[in-house]
C-alpha cells in the first residue's frame, strides 16, 4: 500500500506539471483582468510546435522555446480582441481554443505515429537523489519539472513583493485607479496575457516532448480547461496553483492505476472532470465564505475616459 501511494505521488508530479505551467500563466493573465479561455488551444499548438521543432532540430529546449513563442503569439490574438477591441472575452477565448485545435490538427498530421528523436534524461540532483524514499520522490525528474517548481516562488514574489506585482494586481482590480496613477493599463494587460500564452505553450510542450514523447491529435484532452478551473481553485495564487496542479496530476495517475481493478476505463476517464466540478464547487464555497474572489475587473474591458 505504501509502495502504491509512493508510486502515485511520484507520478503525480510530472502529470501535474503541464497543468502547473498553464495555471501559472492563467493566474498572471487573470490577475491583470483578462480571462483567457484559449488555454486549451494554446496548449495544443504548443504541443505540436514543440514536437515538430524537436523532431527537426533534435533539441528539446528549442522545441520548448518555440512552443512558448507560438503560445504567446496566439495569446496576443486574444489580447488584441479583448483589450483593444474589447470584445466578449468568453467567446473570444473559445474561438482561440477552436483555432488552436484546428491548427494543431492540420500541422500535426505528419507527426502522428512518429517516434521521438530525443528525450530528456532525468536530472538527478547530486547527493539528494540517492536518499531513500525522498530521493526518487523529489529529486529525479526532468528539468522542466524543476523549472515549473522554481517559477512558483518567483511568481509569488513578483506578485506580492514587487512594484511590478502591485501594478499588475491594481490593473486587475481597478484599472481606472491604476490609469490615474500613470500605469499603462493596456500594456500591462498585453504583457500579462502574453506571459499566459508563453506558459500555456510550455505546458503543451511538456505533454508532447516530455510526458508522452509523441504527437497525438487532441492530446491535451481538456487539460487547458482544467487549467482554467485550477486558476479559480488556486484563488489566483501561484502557491495554491502548485498544490492544485499536483492534486490533479494525482487524479490523472489514479485514473490509470485503477484500471487493473476492472473498472471500465470510460468511467475512470470521467474522474478528472467530475473532480474538476467538485473542486469548482468547493472553491466557490470558500470564495463566498472568505469573501475573496476573482480580480475585481476580470472580464471587464477597460475604456479610457475621454478627457
Amino acid at each position: 500500500m505504501w509502495d502504491f501511494i509512493l508510486l502515485v505521488l511520484r507520478a503525480a508530479i510530472p502529470a501535474g506539471t503541464p497543468l502547473l505551467f498553464g495555471t501559472l500563466g492563467e493566474v498572471t493573465a487573470e490577475r491583470s483582468g483578462v480571462l483567457n479561455l484559449g488555454v486549451e488551444g494554446m496548449m495544443i499548438v504548443g504541443a505540436v510546435t514543440a514536437f515538430g521543432v524537436t523532431q527537426s532540430t533534435g533539441n528539446i529546449w528549442l522545441g520548448v522555446a518555440a512552443a512558448a513563442l507560438v503560445g504567446g503569439i496566439l495569446a496576443l490574438v486574444h489580447a488584441f480582441a479583448s483589450i483593444t477591441l474589447r470584445v466578449n472575452q468568453v467567446v473570444s477565448g473559445l474561438a482561440l481554443t477552436m483555432l488552436g485545435l484546428g491548427l494543431s490538427g492540420l500541422v500535426g498530421k505528419r507527426y502522428i505515429g512518429m517516434p521521438p528523436r530525443t528525450r530528456f534524461a532525468p536530472l538527478a540532483v547530486p547527493g539528494l537523489s540517492d536518499l531513500p524514499i525522498i530521493g526518487p520522490l523529489f529529486f529525479r525528474y526532468d528539468p522542466l519539472v524543476y523549472l515549473a517548481i522554481a517559477l512558483v516562488p518567483v511568481l509569488w514574489f513578483i506578485l506580492y513583493k514587487t512594484r511590478w506585482g502591485i501594478t499588475l494586481r491594481s490593473v486587475g482590480e481597478s484599472p481606472a485607479t491604476a490609469d490615474a496613477l500613470g500605469v499603462n493599463v493596456f500594456r500591462v494587460r498585453y504583457l500579462a496575457v502574453f506571459f499566459g500564452g508563453l506558459m500555456a505553450g510550455v505546458g503543451g510542450a511538456y505533454l508532447s516532448v516530455v510526458y508522452t514523447t509523441a504527437w497525438i491529435e487532441g492530446m491535451t484532452a481538456g487539460a487547458g480547461w482544467i487549467v482554467i478551473a485550477l486558476t479559480i481553485f488556486a484563488m489566483w495564487d501561484p502557491v495554491r496553483a502548485l498544490l492544485g496542479a499536483y492534486l490533479f496530476g494525482g487524479v490523472r495517475v489514479l485514473q490509470y492505476r485503477l484500471q487493473p481493478l476492472g473498472i471500465s476505463p470510460n468511467l475512470l476517464n470521467m474522474l478528472p472532470f467530475i473532480f474538476t466540478i467538485l473542486v469548482l464547487l468547493v472553491s466557490a464555497g470558500e470564495a463566498m465564505r472568505k469573501r475573496i474572489g476573482a480580480p475585481e475587473a476580470l472580464m471587464q474591458p477597460y475604456m479610457r475616459e475621454e478627457r
Partner: protein
C-alpha cells in the same frame, strides 16, 4: 516626426441596420481571406480547398441536402444557445446535452422496440429533451445556487457525457450484431424517423427546429420571461433591482437550451444513424459549432435558421476537403475559430466608431 498611430473607439448612439449586415458580410469575407493565408502557409492550396468546399456543400442536390441534414442539429442547438446567451448564461456544454439526449432516446428505443411509431418517436423526443435539460440543470444549479462558473462546469459535463456514451456503446449497450463496432443494435423501424427520400433529411426534426426558432423568437421578444432574460443579460443589477428572479432565469434558459440540444441528439440517432454510436460518430462537435451559429445570428433565433444552414454547408464542405485533400477532421475548427474571432471583432465596428489618429509625442 515622432509619434504613434492610435486607435480610438467611440460608442455609437444608434446602429444602422445596413451597417450591421455590411460588417457581418465583411467579417466573414475577411475571415475566409485569413484562413486562406493560413492554409497557404501550411501547404494547402486555398483556392482548391474553397472550390471543393463550395462545390461539396452547395454544388449538387446531394450536397445541398446534406447541408440541410447538418443544419438541423445546429439549428436546434443554436436556437437554445441564443436564449442562454441573451441572459449572458454561457452554456458551453450543449455538446454534452446533445449526447445525453441521444442516450435517453436510445434507451427508450432499445427498451420498447415494439411500441408503434406514433408513440415511440414522440416519446424519444420527450425523453431526449428531458435528458438534455437535466444534464444542463447540473451546471445551472451550481451557477444559480453556488455561483460556480457555468462555462467550466457545463464544459466538464461534455467530457463526462462523452465518456458515458463510450461506456454504453463499448459496454452494456454494445450491439450483438455490430461486429465489434462501438455501436448499439439498430433501432426497430418504429424508432426510425421518416426521411425526405432519397435524401437523409429527417423532416420531423427539421420542422421541430424551425418551429423552435419561431417559438424562441416569440419567447424572447413577446413574453415577460423573455423580457426578464434580456434584462438579466444586459444589466443584471437592474434585473435584481426590479425584483426579477436571477435563480429562475438561469434555470429557465439552461433548461431550454439543454432540452433543445437534447432534441438535436434525438434527431441524430433516430433520423441519421438509427443507433447510438461512439460520441464523435453521433456529433462532430455540433454543440460547439452551434456557438458560432448563435453568435453569427447576433443571438436572434430566427436568424439562426440561416446561419445554421451556412455552418452546415461549411461542415459538408469540410467533409469534402477531408476526402479530397486528405486533411484531418480538426481542420474545420480553424474555420470555426477564425470566423468567430472576426465576427466578434466586426461587432466592434457597429458598436463603436473607430478613429485612427496620429499622435505626436509630447
Amino acid at each position: 516626426m515622432k509619434g504613434w498611430l492610435s486607435l480610438r473607439l467611440e460608442k455609437r448612439l444608434a446602429v444602422p441596420r445596413w451597417l450591421e449586415y455590411l460588417t457581418l458580410a465583411l467579417s466573414l469575407l475577411l475571415a475566409l481571406a485569413v484562413i486562406a493565408v493560413l492554409f497557404r502557409a501550411l501547404g494547402v492550396n486555398p483556392i482548391v480547398a474553397y472550390q471543393r468546399i463550395f462545390r461539396g456543400a452547395f454544388g449538387s442536390l446531394y450536397g445541398l441536402s446534406e447541408t440541410i441534414v447538418k443544419a438541423i442539429p445546429l439549428m436546434l442547438v443554436g436556437v437554445g444557445l441564443t436564449i442562454a446567451f441573451r441572459a449572458r448564461v454561457y452554456n458551453i456544454g450543449a455538446e454534452g446535452q446533445l449526447l445525453v439526449g441521444a442516450i435517453c432516446a436510445t434507451g427508450l428505443a432499445l427498451a420498447c422496440p415494439n411500441w408503434p411509431a406514433w408513440l415511440l418517436l414522440p416519446g424519444m423526443f420527450v425523453v431526449g429533451f428531458v435528458g438534455g435539460a437535466l444534464w444542463a440543470m447540473i451546471p445551472a444549479l451550481l451557477k444559480a445556487r453556488f455561483r460556480v462558473d457555468e462555462v467550466l462546469s457545463s464544459l466538464m459535463m461534455v467530457y463526462i457525457a462523452s465518456e458515458l456514451v463510450n461506456y454504453l456503446v463499448y459496454g452494456p449497450w454494445k450491439g450483438a450484431k455490430e461486429m465489434g463496432f462501438p455501436y448499439t443494435d439498430k433501432f426497430s423501424p418504429s424508432a426510425q424517423l421518416p426521411r425526405l427520400l432519397p435524401t437523409r433529411i429527417h423532416y420531423p426534426t427539421l420542422i421541430l427546429a424551425v418551429v423552435s426558432a419561431v417559438l424562441a423568437y416569440l419567447l424572447i421578444q413577446r413574453t415577460k420571461w423573455g423580457f426578464e432574460i434580456r434584462v438579466t443579460g444586459e444589466n443584471p443589477e437592474a434585473a435584481r433591482y426590479a425584483g426579477m428572479n436571477y435563480f429562475t432565469t438561469v434555470l429557465l434558459v439552461m433548461l431550454l437550451s439543454g432540452g433543445l440540444a437534447g432534441l438535436a441528439g434525438v434527431g441524430e440517432v433516430a433520423g441519421i444513424h438509427y443507433r447510438l454510436r461512439y460520441p464523435q460518430g453521433v456529433s462532430p462537435g455540433y454543440g460547439f459549432t452551434a456557438i458560432i451559429v448563435a453568435w453569427l445570428a447576433r443571438l436572434n433565433p430566427l436568424a439562426v435558421i440561416l446561419t445554421a444552414l451556412l455552418l452546415g454547408g461549411l461542415l459538408v464542405g469540410g467533409d469534402a476537403i477531408q476526402v479530397a485533400l486528405g486533411l484531418p477532421v480538426a481542420t474545420m475548427y480553424i474555420f470555426n475559430g477564425v470566423i468567430l474571432l472576426f465576427v466578434l471583432g466586426g461587432e466592434v465596428f457597429t458598436r463603436y466608431q473607430i478613429r485612427l489618429e496620429w499622435r505626436r509625442k509630447t
